[in-house]
């Protein structure tokens, strides 16, 4: 509630012409927006450009934010759509041979993993899923968004989101176990 008030104040300042105040919103949300774009695009350069597009669109349409939903949900929706549109553009522009080449996965260490390792293995596993599936999983488990909020962001129906969540969870787990020789739980969740 306090954060919502805080947002309302920031947005009011931006709308009254203080464009620099937008920097605070960018500071708060850049990693979150970039993560959504990375999940969809799987390419740092494209994700950076899509994030930039998303923030600029958000700035231009800020007066259209009515406060009916959380600001983060509104911003995620813009980011998701920017990334999807860039992905479509990329699909028409790139040669299929230019598709991402997966890095060979390093052998899993025998004890717990550090944060960067966890991120590495998780990303590898997420890349085995479709961009939509990995985005939905990320929004649900990392950003802790509800099914209703994911419906708003992706434009899918609630039942569709639930089915995809269920399926992608299974697929993620299978991918993690393949990467980590069936020891996903002990390695990834060990607080080393």
């Amino acid at each position: 509630m306090e954060q919502r008030m805080d947002h309302a104040d920031l947005i009011q300042r931006i709308l009254s012409g203080e464009s620099r105040a937008f920097g605070e919103l960018v500071q708060r949300y850049q990693h979150l927006v970039y993560t959504v774009c990375m999940r969809v695009l799987r390419n740092a350069e494209d994700a950076e450009e899509a994030s930039q597009d998303a923030f600029v669109k958000a700035f231009r349409n800020l007066s259209g934010f009515t406060g009916g939903s959380k600001f983060s949900t509104w911003l995620y929706t813009i980011a998701y759509r920017s990334a999807i549109s860039r992905a479509r553009q990329r699909r028409t522009n790139t040669d299929p041979l230019d598709e991402l080449v997966h890095q060979p996965v390093a052998a899993a260490p025998s004890d717990g993993l550090h944060r960067t390792d966890v991120r590495h293995y998780l990303n590898q596993a997420l890349e085995k899923l479709t961009p939509e599936e990995s985005t939905i999983l990320s929004l649900h488990y990392l950003d802790e968004l509800s099914v209703e909020e994911i419906v708003t962001i992706t434009g899918l129906s609630a039942s569709n989101v639930k089915v995809r969540l269920f399926r992608s969870r299974k697929r993620l787990e299978a991918a993690l176990n393949t990467e980590l020789n069936g020891e996903a739980r002990s390695l990834l969740l060990n607080d080393a």
Binding site: F22, S63, R119
Partner: protein
């Protein structure tokens, strides 16, 4: 191996955290935002798209009035009677010749001009 439950998956994602946005992202966004010259604050009350609807509705009403007025027998003593048995001749005449209708349209047009001028002035002032 037992599958990961909801809490474990949450813990796993949280442990991995968000992707780190490149350092260049923030300044690049701000540069674009400061350079767009777009003040998002004030927009005209009636957007160009809404104007299209206004024109369409106005055209439809005008056409309806014209069509109905051609159906009214001018020499009929009892006036035109619609299939619903309503006497429309008085309404049609009022619509065709009302000074009030004309004045309302002129006023709406003037207010729209003021609206656009004010939003333009705000736009220029904020940059």
């Amino acid at each position: 191996m037992p599958e990961l439950n909801d809490d474990e998956l949450r813990k796993l994602f949280q442990k991995a955290g968000h992707e780190q946005a490149p350092d260049a992202l923030h300044p690049a966004i701000m540069e674009q935002v400061m350079g767009t010259g777009t003040a998002p604050a004030v927009k005209p009350l009636i957007a160009p798209r809404q104007w299209l609807w206004v024109v369409l509705v106005l055209a439809a009403v005008t056409a309806l009035v014209w069509i109905l007025s051609t159906l009214v027998p001018h020499d009929a003593a009892s006036g035109f009677t619609s299939p619903l048995h309503l006497d429309l001749s008085g309404i049609l005449q009022a619509l065709q010749y009302s000074k009030w209708a004309a004045m309302a349209m002129v006023l709406a047009f003037a207010l729209t001009l003021v609206d656009r001028m004010l939003s333009g002035a705000h736009h220029r002032a904020s940059h």
